[in-house]
């Protein structure tokens, strides 16, 4: 069987559950007839060839410190921002959503604030549900993924409190937004990579192709 034009996807691998995303994305690529070549990226030059970038779950403070203050710091951030202007699609899960947001604050330590990539017009509050023991699973109804509920795995999750008009809300209840999309940027506050449901990663693939 001949493979279609290959698609290059990277997972930002400075910290977090990188392997889970790599495995899931590779399954999705295979299923859609592409070569499963999702790679781990840590350096600015590795961003260059990507069509899509996943920012995984993890500790956003650690990720932001590693990409903003240390060795590759500004170069990595600037490279990502430059590539986004040229059509790079980004999928952020949990900590990745905090990295994508323009405004963030923390629920535990109120004065805490960090904004890193500042790419999406969303406002995020970290640790909104509390610490690990308050982490939970619940089913979510997401129209763009079809009628079957999506298993939402929320681990020390943030919430998206508000979005600007240019942002499409994909899933919400009365007070919280769980998933949002702005152009080719996709942000969710939970962890699709810890489930066996490939639909969000498939949705991201479609976003890259669009």
């Amino acid at each position: 069987m001949s493979k279609k034009k290959s698609i290059a996807i990277g997972v930002l691998a400075v910290q977090g559950d990188v392997l889970e995303h790599v495995n899931m994305m590779n399954e999705v690529l295979k299923k859609n007839g592409y070569k499963p070549n999702t790679i781990w990226v840590k350096k600015p030059e590795e961003i260059e060839l990507l069509d899509g970038l996943i920012i995984p779950g993890g500790e956003s403070t650690v990720m932001s410190r590693l990409v903003s203050e240390m060795r590759f710091g500004d170069k990595l951030i600037n490279k990502i921002k430059e590539k986004v202007k040229n059509g790079l699609a980004i999928f952020g899960t949990c900590a990745g959503t905090i990295m994508l947001s323009k405004t963030s604050s923390d629920n535990v330590v109120k004065e805490f604030s960090q904004t890193i990539l500042e790419l999406m017009d969303i406002e995020v509050v970290r640790n909104k549900y509390g610490r690990q023991q308050k982490s939970f699973e619940k089913e979510l109804l997401i129209d763009v993924l079809g009628k079957k509920p999506f298993p939402g795995v929320f681990i020390r999750a943030p919430i998206i409190t508000s979005v600007k008009k240019n942002v499409e809300v994909l899933c919400r209840n009365s007070e919280e937004i769980f998933a949002a999309k702005q152009d080719k940027l996709l942000a969710v506050t939970f962890h699709p990579e810890l489930t066996h449901d490939f639909r969000f990663h498939e949705y991201f693939l479609k976003l890259i192709q669009s």
Partner: protein, 324 residues
């Protein structure tokens, strides 16, 4: 491939239904929640702290979580006597002061001590051989808790026994409070070697020998089978015990650790902030020698804690814990 044992019903315990808003049912404390929490710490460094001040330094340096204890392992060695968990007010103060996960150590087999730590709201509990064991025969039955547990292991058998008991995360023990990475390397190599062995047994479909190995290691057959199938521990595995320099951390990552615990190494050095940042950098970029070089350059060997070798040690913490 046939699973000899029916699905373990005890894996279902520890789950409870809470109401978030009237129309939304949520589930907490599941295996996926607990193991998932550990997965989020991968590629990171967890630092031992004894005070709010140290917790702030750890957070600022890029630590992925902190481990609260009353005394650093090297001070536990010096002080002797019975080592118990940190005071509750200190744990609570740290919980309020920082945003990253807070873990706390309890004594081996001390179920009630763990229940008390769970009540503080700590993110994770470490059933730790650094403290004096409370039950010398049994470890805590960890499935019943909402909080995830991390447990020490020095070979594959002990790791899988802890997983059978509900541990969501393993750390290879090393020898805490020594500044000597030799034991950590020995333990992780042993675990890797034993995993390769059962992986090979599964490849040649030698189920008889797999069952024999599970009996030798006194752990359940299905955990052995799961490990052989995925070719690694079924939970996140950090390296611990004696890691002191950035290169130590990178070495452990190279040996397939998912992350690093640093105990006395940071706050018993004279350059804690520098050293903590450097270890974080080396752990994340362990596969780039030029970055680890830069991290190593940030610390001074003159400021490192003094090491202890095996023969100089009176107390071997790694030998603590039930043999079954």
């Amino acid at each position: 491939m046939k699973n000899l044992f029916p699905e373990r019903s005890y894996m279902k315990t520890g789950e409870s239904i809470h109401q978030l808003t009237p129309d939304e049912k949520v589930t907490r404390g599941t295996n996926r929640m607990k193991r998932g929490f550990a997965r989020m710490t991968k590629g990171g460094v967890i630092m031992d702290v004894t005070s709010v001040e140290q917790a702030h330094i750890a957070e600022d340096a890029g630590s992925v979580a902190v481990m609260v204890l009353d005394k650093l392992p090297i001070d536990v060695r010096r002080a002797g006597g019975v080592a118990r968990p940190a005071s509750i007010p200190i744990i609570c103060d740290i919980l309020e002061a920082i945003t990253i996960p807070v873990m706390a150590k309890c004594r081996l087999g001390h179920t009630y001590e763990a229940k008390v730590l769970q009540e503080t709201g700590a993110d994770c509990i470490d059933e730790s051989e650094v403290l004096t064991p409370a039950d010398e025969l049994r470890h805590i039955w960890k499935w019943d808790f909402t909080a995830p547990f991390v447990c020490g292991a020095l070979d594959l058998g002990s790791a899988l026994r802890r997983i059978d008991e509900g541990a969501a995360m393993i750390r290879t023990k090393g020898e805490p409070g020594t500044g000597n990475v030799a034991e950590a390397i020995r333990h992780i190599r042993l675990v890797n070697g034993e995993i390769n062995e059962i992986k090979r047994l599964l490849e040649v479909e030698d189920y008889q020998q797999l069952l024999f190995r599970s009996r030798e290691m006194t752990c359940s057959y299905d955990t052995v089978l799961e490990t052989a199938k995925i070719g690694r521990l079924p939970v996140v595995n950090f390296a611990a015990g004696g890691i002191t320099t950035p290169a130590d951390a990178a070495q452990m990552m190279m040996l397939s650790a998912d992350g690093i615990f640093v105990g006395s190494g940071i706050f018993k050095s004279e350059d804690p902030m520098q050293r903590a940042s450097a270890v974080v950098l080396a752990t994340s970029y362990w596969d780039s020698p030029e970055v680890v070089y830069e991290a190593q350059e940030m610390v001074s060997e003159q400021k490192a804690m003094m090491g202890l070798t095996g023969s100089e040690m009176k107390l071997k913490m790694q030998e603590r814990g039930a043999k079954l």
